[in-house]
């Protein structure tokens, strides 16, 4: 069961709870927004990751499966 943490940068308002709950995987940038490495969430951190997703006051964090599509092109 591999999953990745993703942040919706529009919804995120730098409340910073995620970095407190999951400091092993999430650090904050100079403005307080979460920096999340692209690595899969290890099994022993899955519970904390789920907790961070559930407690995000902006609902900006989610756990995605590994087979997500690549990002869409910028313009047509």
């Amino acid at each position: 069961m591999s999953a990745r943490l993703r942040v919706d940068p529009i919804a995120c308002e730098a409340r910073g709870l995620c970095a407190e709950i999951l400091p092993e995987m999430i650090t904050l940038d100079d403005w307080g927004y979460p920096l999340i490495g692209g690595a899969d969430v290890p099994a022993d951190l899955y519970a904390e990751a789920s907790e961070a997703v559930r407690l995000c006051p902006r609902l900006a964090l989610r756990l995605d499966g590994p087979d997500r599509e690549p990002p869409a092109p910028l313009a047509s």
Binding site: I10, A11, D29, A75
Partner: protein
Amino acid sequence: MKTAEQSPWLAAGRAAAELPRLLPGRCGDGPVSLAGHLARHGRLPVIGRGTGHRRRLIAEIGRAGLSGRGGAAFPTARKLATVAAARRTPVVIANGTEGEPASAKDKVLLAQAPHLVLDGAVLAAELVGARQAIVVVHGAVREPVDDAVAERRRARYDRVPVRVLTAAGRFVAGEASALVNWVGHGIPAPTAVPPRVSERGLGGRPTLVQNVETLAHLALIVRHGAPWFRSLGTPTEPGSVLVTVIGAVREPGVYETGLGTPTGDVLALAGGPAVPLAALLIGGYSGAWVPYPAAAGRPFSAAGLRPAGASPGAGLLAAMPADACGLAETARVARYLAAESAGQCGPCVFGLGSIAAELEALAAGRPADPGQLERWLGQADGRGACHHPDGAVRMIRSALEVFAAETAEHARGWCRGTRPAGVLPVPPQAPR
């Protein structure tokens, strides 16, 4: 079916490698009328009602190798096929926003050959099974496009209703999700991806967003076929491309050339350098700086420019004179890009603002911290919902590399620039 492999257009025997394809041969005559358009290009080909003919035409566009001319160079046939296969009735939006202040190619195309773009929008709508085509154009060219649409309406020419809208005058307004957001809600700001607009766009419908130049090429491919299209350009990047050439060239303007043409030859179309050059900004304000003598020999194509860290992008070439300060130019554009953030994503809002301030300090010879700048560039890169911060970071990183000697000179209080900054156009910022 075997015959689908052979191109039915091959026998047409058109003088294929002739340029220009999109623009009228002579400038300054005003927009080409519908009669003039028909005399030059022939009637709009009939698209069969069944899915078979539509599928074969999309395959022909795939064989032509047409890719998006708005900057991302995404394969057009793949986007068409995705939207055509969707369950709900799709919508087509022709993107003539051209929010990039340095670029003029979409405006020139819409002002001079509006019927070719409208043909492409109608054909694209038919190919994907859409019942309307929405054409969003820069305010400067709304009138010729309106006139062209009225002319077609009088002639009962279009088989799909065409609606024209004026684009929001913002840099990010042309990004696909921002364009859909603008048409649907009047908000010119990107939305979160996923979903992509090709899956869930305007009113929840699958939405095909194509740059207006891409659609003009499409209208010609449907008429003349893939071999005709491929007779210009390179095998991996076929066709012609519109290029806006600005800065220190003798005749700045919009020119059409085959992809893969040496970049120096594209400059020559614009009369060549007017003064000795230091560098070229290639692709747009989210493109990359390349040192000049090295840049001239590179083919103007994604493959040709990739080793120099650049790409054709939206078809911009800006020639920077050797007596201008590249850092000052970059700082001005960085400040503009920071102000043009849609203001939704923190790392873009705060990152680009901080980066611009640091660059301004660097350009002005005030104390600046290159380590801090690099740290912020890393923290802004890839951190937005759209690629606006990534593009700004790419352009600024290339400037720091190409103008590295200037950076060192500025730190000692020197600047080789003897002309005021202003080679790259930056519109005044509206208060928000």
